[in-house]
């Protein structure tokens, strides 16, 4: 049988080729043996080695020496260490997977930590605020606090009142629209820091229909925007601006 050409190193390795046909762990040896398979020279070597090993295996053990064979272990098993364990690829892969899952869970938990009734709607409105242009709103130059009457008279929206903290700011425009759940939402654009105000129905208990109330102001963040939300008379009010909680906090503190 024709054999493949062997490199010098492979010929060197073949002289030390394992005698048994057990799977070879060493990659270079495995490759050399694979290439030499079928050569008469290698077949003769293997048959020679097997006969020699069988002869060695037939060396009788004297009875006095055989007594030692039941002796306890002299050699300690290799010590288990964290470092060895960490180097195991399977353990490494599982460890990374667990870390990623834990990270996602922590992120989810933290992001939901500040949830309150109506926070889902508030987040959607923050996304809307980030994409709204002032030209979409009806121009109106007035104090924000006066728009409650407009919403009631023109749109029949009861309790859509701007809280005192934001009542004195001048408006650029406003509009009333319905979201995908047919809830009527009022949107006001302020001249102050291009802030936007939203008024929308508070969340209600699905069984009893009672308003799910929450005390004070709650902050939420979405896509670089921050909103401060409060609930009063079954209507939620949200002041939104592009920035952080610190940018909104002074407006809420002023009246407190």
């Amino acid at each position: 049988m024709k054999t493949q050409r062997l490199s010098r190193r492979q010929r060197t390795l073949l002289n030390c080729a394992p005698i048994d046909e057990e799977p070879i762990r060493d990659r270079s040896m495995r490759s050399a043996v694979f290439r030499a398979r079928g050569s008469n020279e290698f077949a003769n070597q293997q048959s020679f080695d097997r006969a020699m090993a069988a002869l060695v295996d037939a060396i009788p053990i004297p009875a006095e020496s055989a007594e030692w064979f039941s002796a306890k272990d002299f050699v300690s098993a290799s010590k288990w260490t964290w470092r060895k364990m960490a180097r195991n690829p399977a353990v490494l892969a599982v460890g990374i997977a667990v870390l990623v899952i834990a990270g996602v869970l922590i992120f989810y938990f933290v992001s939901r930590l500040n949830d309150f009734p109506g926070s889902a709607t508030a987040r959607k409105l923050l996304t809307l605020a980030s994409s709204t242009r002032s030209v979409l709103l009806d121009p109106i130059n007035a104090d924000a606090g006066t728009l409650g009457d407009l919403f009631f008279m023109k749109h029949g929206l009861e309790h859509y009142e701007v809280p005192p903290e934001f009542a004195d700011f001048r408006t650029i425009g406003c509009r009333v629209f319905e979201d995908e759940e047919s809830r009527r939402i009022a949107q006001i654009w302020l001249a102050e820091k291009r802030m936007q105000l939203f008024l929308f129905p508070a969340e209600r208990n699905a069984k009893t229909g009672a308003v799910l109330r929450f005390p004070g102001w709650r902050y939420i963040q979405q896509e670089g925007w921050t909103g401060a939300v409060t609930e009063h008379n079954g209507v939620c009010f949200m002041a939104a601006l592009r920035g952080r909680e610190n940018d909104l906090a002074p407006y809420l503190a002023e009246k407190q």
Binding site: F48, L55, S65
Partner: protein, 160 residues
């Protein structure tokens, strides 16, 4: 399957191949195990995986220092033949041990460790303190020399 690190029957066979004498082999084997037992009794389990074989090897080398050494002479070498295995079958283990034990060091250690069929080549390199090219050369020449000896001792079966 016994633990490769302390396969005691193979340890004895190693000593026998190294010394070619059952009495001396037993002596080295027992001394090595007594030393290991003593250390184990003191709570010093041996961390080095092939301690027993390494220790036994050095004891064998020490033991053979006192032996009369044959004058170095050029050994005949023959190519390995397909009939070699049948020729080997006609031998006694003791004859093989005598032949291996007569080989010069480190060929003796290399052949003894290799034909124990207990270690892979990397482990043999470690135990015998050899380089791969050296081990390869020692084994290859050992085979050819043994084949030459076989041809002298056992007439080759004529090819049909």
């Amino acid at each position: 399957m016994p633990d490769r690190k302390q396969n005691l029957p193979q340890l004895y066979r190693f000593c026998f191949l190294m010394l070619g004498d059952s009495r001396k082999a037993q002596e080295v084997f027992h001394t090595t195990l007594r030393e290991a037992a003593l250390r184990a009794a003191h709570g010093e389990l041996l961390n080095e995986p092939f301690w027993l074989f390494r220790e036994a090897r050095w004891r064998c080398l020490e033991e053979s220092k006192t032996d009369l050494e044959a004058e170095p002479l050029e050994m005949k070498e023959h190519e390995i033949t397909p009939e070699a295995s049948m020729q080997i079958e006609q031998f006694e283990p003791t004859q093989l041990a005598v032949w291996i034990s007569a080989a010069p060091e480190p060929q003796r250690t290399a052949l003894a460790l290799f034909y124990l069929n207990e270690f892979d080549y990397r482990e043999i390199l470690d135990l015998a303190e050899l380089k791969l090219s050296e081990l390869s050369r020692l084994l290859a020449s050992g085979r050819r020399q043994f084949q030459a000896w076989l041809n002298t001792m056992v007439p080759q079966v004529p090819k049909v």
